[in-house]
Assembly symmetry: C2
Homo-oligomer: 285 residues x 2
């Protein structure tokens, strides 16, 4: 028998489920924040009742995006640490489990900062970078390169065109940017020195789960002998215990295509780019 | 000193220049039609004056799309045949040069019909075909396969999404069709048995000039060991005498992207897919 979570927590979980504006790492930190606030504020009769509530909350947040490794990993990490807290005292458990969530979120932010510095070292002044879709980790790297005369080639990333958001950020940094349709990646790889992408998650074998089109860019980079770097925090690696990878089909009406009787539009967001196409994986370790 | 062409011919040429709805072969046949009608109807004092007018018209039509091999080739073929006509008589020259244009246009239509039959033989009943963009030659092949339980995967082909038009035709034929974003080609190649594309033109070495994205599909087909067939009439092969290939940049506002100060949108329609990625070229010979 599952006890139902309080309405405010169910609401917070629902928002994580429907969030399409943020990447997996950001959603994982948001999940930790929800857990941290709940630890401090949710009514509970005693430490055991709070612990039970928080674990159920963490499970529900993990289930919100079963394929997102960062959510799974950061919450599993939190759970492991909270398991070690021996507090019988409600107030102590509140403080310690909340701090634990805050520390893990901080560590994940620090990981991005370390990757930003490392990734920036892969690009020489004056070089042109090609990327696909929008990755907050790639944005962090580009933010380290604003004074190095780089140029960036950005794809629109259909159907939601989150590449526009990246183009906007690069323009605000006054970085000369070329915006292309996804189909032009094979042509514009010739104009790039380096391909740089983020990842939704990494498979145990190093395969990269990322926005559809990443695989095509990797093939083009290989064909033109351009390095293809994947930038992603170590907690994006899928643990063996995770449910098997499922490439979610999203709402096909996002394509905005006309409706025909015998035509089924497909909107698979994520695909796997095999490890052998990756020049290197950049993480914080 | 160039004599200017009559206003009605200049108008007809202008329509060919701005036509974006038709492929190169269709425009080549339209050019022949314009030449044929001019041969029969344009005022001329004598055979020499008519011949001069028609050659100037043919040159102007060739220049309308300098990168389109079919226009260049079919008009060059017409010119070679008209050069042989010894008619001193205006009426005879009218008839013969018009018939010549009509025969060549007919032959090009027959070529498509032959390719349709040949291309259809490459697909076994029940197989799934993936294609990119819209090719009238590929449509002709698919039209031969309506009763063979095939399935088709169609890309939208940004920015103008001419893939929707293909999807509409396939739906009218009740062929089960999957419509995808261009970025999903790398994922959906696994669901296909055969990749089949048309060509704007062929390079002398067999390289394929076709809509941007064709190269990515060819790379994906190679990576997954799927045959990649290019269907195109022999008159699509670029002659050595043609002006060097120029990949035209089209209006970037077609992308519909927001405008940012440091962002330049690019809209390169055509790209070259190298010959070594092509399993076979299907022509009428």
């Amino acid at each position: 028998m599952h006890k139902e979570l309080p309405a405010d927590l169910r609401q917070a979980i629902a928002e994580v489920v429907t969030d399409r504006a943020h990447g997996a790492s950001e959603l994982a930190r948001r999940a930790l924040e929800i857990v941290g606030v709940a630890a401090r504020e949710q009514p509970a009769d005693d430490a055991d009742a709070l612990r039970d509530l928080l674990y159920r909350l963490a499970n529900a947040l993990t289930a919100a995006h079963p394929s997102m490794a960062p959510i799974y990993n950061l919450l599993a990490c939190w759970r492991e640490e909270v398991d070690q807290i021996e507090a019988e005292d409600l107030a102590a458990l509140r403080t310690q489990s909340a701090q634990c969530a805050e520390h893990i979120a901080q560590a994940s932010r620090r990981a991005v900062a370390v990757i930003a510095k490392r990734g920036a070292q892969l690009v020489r002044p004056g070089q042109t970078i090609i990327t696909h879709s929008l990755s907050s980790t790639v944005v962090a790297i580009l933010g380290e390169l604003t004074d190095r005369q780089i140029k960036v080639i950005v794809t629109e990333a259909r159907p939601r065109c989150e590449g526009y958001q990246l183009a906007k950020q690069l323009s605000a940094w006054a970085i000369p940017t070329t915006l292309i349709t996804d189909a032009q990646m094979g042509f514009f790889i010739q104009a790039a020195d380096v391909a740089l992408v983020g990842a939704d998650s990494l498979l145990p074998d190093g395969g990269v789960v990322n926005k559809a089109g990443t695989y095509l860019l990797a093939l083009a980079a290989k064909a033109h002998d351009r390095p293809f770097y994947v930038c992603c925090e170590s907690f994006k690696r899928r643990r063996a215990a995770m449910p098997p990878l499922e490439l979610e089909a999203m709402d096909p009406t996002e394509l905005g295509a006309p409706v025909y009787a015998h035509v089924i539009p497909k909107n698979i967001y994520f695909e796997v780019t095999p490890a052998q196409l990756v020049t290197d994986w950049i993480n914080e370790r």
